[in-house]
Amino acid sequence: MSPGDLPDWAAWLVSALALAGAGISLVGAVGLIRLKTFYERVHAPTLGATLGMAMILAASIVYFSAADGRPVLRDLLIGLFLTVTTPITLILLGRAAAYRDRSDGNANAPPDP
């Protein structure tokens, strides 16, 4: 199946969703450069992991549904998987950073909860 088989509305919708999602992910990555401290920087990639991911997966769902002529919803599984795993990675990373900062006695170490 070639991309040319898509109807016009689907092509525009897929392109718009993919571009918006990629733009949001890129802004999140730029946050890795622009934000000054580690704890601020951890917030940045969540942009790509939430809205950016959702929009690109939506583009993929629209694309393959329009190309195959039936609903293709398997990309929802990637979304579900990312939604469940991102909190685990970020909580573990935040805790590791907090532990290291506290044991080093850094001035910007987080207070006790």
Binding site: M1, S2, P3, G4, L6, P7, D8, A10, A11, W12, V14, S15, A16, A18, L19, G21, A22, G23, S25, L26, G28, A29, V30, L32, I33, F38, R41, V42, A44, P45, G48, A49, G52, M53, I56, L57, A59, S60, Y63, F64, A67, V72, R74, D75, L77, I78, F81, L82, T85, I88, T89, L92, L93, R95, A96, A97, Y99, R100
Partner: protein, 94 residues
């Protein structure tokens, strides 16, 4: 514009943006300054790489890249969790 042209430009640009995001994440891995920054950069690299694979799947019109994206997502999760544990304990399994 025809549908094929819209898709070629739109998806090509989207993929280029995701690759740029990966480059920025790689810069953060190299730059540091501390180990947790590098792990965060690796997590971002994995995430954007996975999204770039999904977009590439649309560009080629092949459904095969879905499995690749799923595997990259799982490996990225396992890698970041293992590295975060390593940062706390200095060893992964104990």
């Amino acid at each position: 514009m025809s549908a094929a042209l819209v898709l070629a430009y739109g998806l090509g640009l989207a993929q280029a943006m995701l690759v740029l995001a990966m480059a920025i994440a790689a810069w953060r891995i190299l730059r540091g300054p501390r180990a947790q920054d590098r792990v965060l950069g690796l997590d971002t690299l994995y995430l954007n790489g996975m999204l770039a694979i999904v977009v590439h799947g649309m560009r080629t019109g092949s459904g095969l890249y879905f499995e690749a994206a799923l595997v990259i997502g799982m490996l990225g999760f396992a890698a970041t969790v293992a590295l975060a544990k390593f940062l706390v304990h200095g060893e992964v399994i104990r």
